[in-house]
Amino acid sequence: MWACQQGGYRVLRDYLDQRRGRPLDSEEFDDFRNLVAVVRLTLDQLPAIDPLVEEAAANSFSAEDLGLPSS
């Protein structure tokens, strides 16, 4: 969870890093707990998502099928 990244942003670590050197107030503490829960649930979902993405990629429309430029 600690290593979990979203778009290069290490969610939990960076949240605390940005507040380094001062106490979290109670609102931030609640936010952090929410983040922990969200990261947890995200990680729980990934195993279900990955095979579907692979399946989708294996049987996807090509740019040519869709009449799109193949860029």
Binding site: M1, N34, V53, G67
Partner: protein
Amino acid sequence: MLRGSEPDIRPPTGAMLLRRVAQQSLFEGVPETVVKPGDTETHLEPSAPARSLATGKALLAGADDPGFDCWTGYNPARARALRKFGLHSMMCIPVRPRGRGGRRGLLPGTASGAFRAGRRSPGRGADRQGGGIAGQRPLLHARARHRRHPAALPAAATAYAEGLRYGFARIPFTRDPEVFTGLQQLGGQLAKLHLLEHPDARNSLPRMDGDDTAVPAAARLSPETQALHLAEPGSHASHRGDVGLPAGRVPGAP
């Protein structure tokens, strides 16, 4: 504009002498134009720029529009330039100078070429004639395909292709409806989760070991156990009220 007045606009009629004051192009040196800045050109009222001036309205004129043909016909060099650069439509936007008492009239901004023709725009004819530009043609093809096979492919999926290049999440567009629906549902849940709108985000808060109401003063990650320690204020030495968050597992989470 703090102080300004609308100039008195009287639509010109008949032939108009228009002077080009400025021009810009995607091409270096504006090679596609035949009238240089400072030069004048006489327009008859049916020309698209003249019509735009006379009515004060923006308009889009394509190759099947008399205003476009008329404008092309003023100068044989223009017709050659249009063919050479593949320009097939023009957008005329009258610009009204404000707060300049001495000037009156409308300035047409004339541009040619790459306009997406809307459903009712005059530029549509050019697309039908195959003069479409890169980026426009695929959309038209997608629409045509959608008309032939309405169930096969939503036209919107390809219409949004350009927007998807700007870094939104991209997923392969699968042929399998079940896979597509599954991904849609999972993606929707994930989006809700990350926007903190998912009920589970509130219902599965990590359980605190120790004093649940304590406000931590410092956080420390244990490299050995990957546990995160949040220390209470004034208790830097001890770790009473620690929250242990082992990697990949939340205390109290199912």
